[in-house]
Symmetry: C4
Subunit: 126 residues, 4 copies
Amino acid sequence: MMKEIGKIDWAFSAGRIPFRSTGKEPEMVSHDKIAILNTTEEEAVVELFIFYEDEKPVGPFEIKIEPKRLKKVGFNFLIDPTCIYLERNYSCYIRSNVKVVVQFSRMNTGMAANAEMGTMAFPVDS
Amino acid sequence: MMKEIGKIDWAFSAGRIPFRSTGKEPEMVSHDKIAILNTTEEEAVVELFIFYEDEKPVGPFEIKIEPKRLKKVGFNFLIDPTCIYLERNYSCYIRSNVKVVVQFSRMNTGMAANAEMGTMAFPVDS
Amino acid sequence: MMKEIGKIDWAFSAGRIPFRSTGKEPEMVSHDKIAILNTTEEEAVVELFIFYEDEKPVGPFEIKIEPKRLKKVGFNFLIDPTCIYLERNYSCYIRSNVKVVVQFSRMNTGMAANAEMGTMAFPVDS
Amino acid sequence: MMKEIGKIDWAFSAGRIPFRSTGKEPEMVSHDKIAILNTTEEEAVVELFIFYEDEKPVGPFEIKIEPKRLKKVGFNFLIDPTCIYLERNYSCYIRSNVKVVVQFSRMNTGMAANAEMGTMAFPVDS
């Protein structure tokens, strides 16, 4: 059997959804996303908490990932309990009930070419 | 002698092979790749397992790396036991028999300029 | 309650503020930045120390982050006790009084398209 | 006093020096680089070992970093004991006598715009 891999808690701090997009849709639309991998035999129930520079945190945003699946979450698609404004700095704390692996990625096509950025999120020590 | 370095298990979650390419081949062809470094005195036998959003995982894809060598693996070149569709989200769990070092990289030249992204994969605690 | 997450000490070594910018202001201005997330109930008092290739370190630059907030710091905006020249290599050691999460990011729009780079900073073992 | 920070051993696996450059020199020249930060009171003597896909490793390449300084090393400038060909995959193991912090970065301006990529190198457990 495959091991259960990852961490329960993750975070990243340099979120900012780009406003402008150019190029062919859907693959060149600007975005901030996280990809959450659940290798376990259980459904992962993940809560996202969003932090700002000048306002109190919002959340939890609840995301469910089936066993042995991944889910890619675009921050501009979060709507419950609220939404995240474009071009506004935010950080994100990710809390799961089972071990998951979280990677952050951004595409910014605002200047007629695509820029991409990606990093594993920070795995919090349990 | 040089130490054996790295980890046995690695993972990344934000895979997606870009569809469009522009520019001079081969160096500007869009791709998702991992580079696996084997500093040990033994052959590394590495198994890749691919996870999807809406289908069960596939694998193992077996990769062998000679002692004291690296191997760079393009995800669009994997064909056995199956292949990976372009522009489809995937995650990857990497399991080795010896310690290795794994880095993920993407090039996306889909908009007439090259975008690049790279991050060390997540080293799973043993 | 939410856990306090992160580390007390962080560092990154490949700093360099790009000189040239093109494109729409303010979102396409070239920069080096860190985003510092403070999830704790206390104000974070963070000190930055800047290292160079050919001169002794400067600092501390003091940054305060309110409880449950983030702060994004552009290295070209640091002025006290001194400033950082553009296109000059620097490294940064980040020391906090409480746990924080630190991510480094760069935007370089010097060639009529935007390039972006980002990585979690290195979390120093306590 | 400031703590000594970092690790003794580091590695990255996805090296490849881009061949083509466009744009204004020197800041837009394509490159693979590492930035090594030495926060200690001693000179850091760092050895780089380069691994290939189809040939035995080469090195050590010796780099010295003064106390409280950083050094940025371009892989295309390494010449002793040998050099590294452009557009050839390589990995790098970095061994120091004192704790250092290592970040990898690439600039690729091969398609008339600059792409940038960066990640902390993998810190090897002691």
